[in-house]
């Protein structure tokens, strides 16, 4: 029997509003390492997050188009594996946005961790 454990109940029910901004951060970070096309990006996100962040795969493209429109990514059509793929590359503006988002995310997670540690912060 073939196995396919990429999608568990946990990943499928991830709260979408809580995920706001996370896909953008992940995409920018992964594209900092190398250029990729959509399918590769989705696979890289799933692998890098241990399948925790795994939305419906097709919804990655509107995000990529939006980031390209903002000038954070550059899209280039190139042949690969007998097909023409749209490869996405991080621009210098995208790198700056990645740093900003990373800082913001780090501050936020620190603050939340602080709250989760317990009542020591309470008056």
């Amino acid at each position: 029997m073939p196995s396919d454990n990429r999608y568990t109940d946990r990943t499928m029910t991830t709260n979408p509003s809580f995920m706001s901004g996370v896909p953008e951060l992940l995409v920018l970070r992964l594209l900092q390492d190398r250029e990729m096309y959509g399918y590769e990006i989705v696979a890289a996100v799933a692998a890098a997050t241990g399948q925790v962040v795994a939305p419906k795969e097709g919804v990655i493209y509107p995000l990529l188009h939006d980031l390209e429109k903002e000038g954070l990514l550059r899209a280039q059509r190139r042949p690969a594996g007998g097909r023409t793929r749209v490869y996405y590359t991080l621009t210098s503006k995208g790198v700056r946005r990645l740093f900003d988002l990373s800082d913001e995310w780090t501050r936020m997670t620190r603050a939340i961790q602080h709250v989760l540690k317990g009542p020591s912060h309470a008056v």
Partner: protein, 232 residues
């Protein structure tokens, strides 16, 4: 085509055609990759296709993700009054400016090459040809381009009709004044006049060009009515 319904839904909602085209091409490629992955995992063709589509997302998932991004909407969908109301006026200004520039260049070339400021005999024919071209061919052609633009975005037929009316009301009244053959000096001009005016083409001309100019919008209206744009 697996995403035909999605295409219509996105276009009708106002997503720019180029984004829709690329989105669907990327989704097709992605679906092929997913099916291949499923086949490699041991599923038969039918099951592989079903599982691949489930992982890609259904039409609702894919449409909502696109529609949630305002930057991907087209200008004709966001501001149709600008594109179909004001852009025709800009097109008409260009329609007048280009023949004027062309005639001025022709006159300048004639003076330079012959050393005579007298208007040549062919100058009148050239000016009249340009006016005919502008009134009878370019104006309806521009109206056709606006109808084409509306069809690409599946916009209501009233928008290209508005563009056609603007073009018909103003655009076809182009007329030229120029110095007569071998006449020294004189002025060169291309302008607009009202139907029935002294130098205009008259009411019959107005009617003929108006029909030609709004015809593309009417054809689009018929085509749109016949097309099946049923969406969920």
């Amino acid at each position: 085509m697996p995403f035909e319904e999605l295409r219509e839904r996105l276009l009708r909602a106002g997503i720019a055609p180029r984004h829709v085209r690329r989105y669907l091409a990327e989704l097709n490629d992605h679906l092929d990759d997913l099916i291949q992955t499923q086949r490699d995992a041991g599923y038969d063709a039918q099951n592989a296709a079903i599982r691949a589509r489930a992982r890609l997302g259904d039409d609702d998932d894919l449409a909502i993700a696109m529609l949630a991004r305002p930057a991907l909407y087209s200008l004709p969908a966001r501001a149709p009054w600008l594109v179909f109301g004001l852009f025709p006026l800009a097109a008409l200004i260009a329609l007048c400016a280009v023949p004027i520039a062309f005639l001025a260049a022709a006159a300048s070339w004639h003076v330079h090459s012959n050393g005579s400021p007298a208007a040549p005999a062919w100058f009148q024919d050239l000016a009249l040809s340009l006016v005919f071209l502008g009134n009878w061919i370019l104006t309806p052609l521009i109206a056709g381009l606006f109808a084409l633009l509306a069809s690409r975005q599946r916009l209501p037929a009233r928008w290209p009709l508005i563009a056609g009316i603007v073009l018909a009301a103003i655009g076809f009244h182009m007329q030229a004044s120029f110095p007569g053959p071998h006449q020294h000096g004189g002025s060169l001009g291309i302008g607009l006049s009202f139907p029935g005016g002294q130098d205009g083409m008259g009411w019959s001309g107005w009617l003929a060009v108006t029909l030609l100019t709004i015809a593309p919008a009417m054809l689009y209206r018929v085509w749109r009515g016949r097309s099946d744009f049923s969406i969920r």
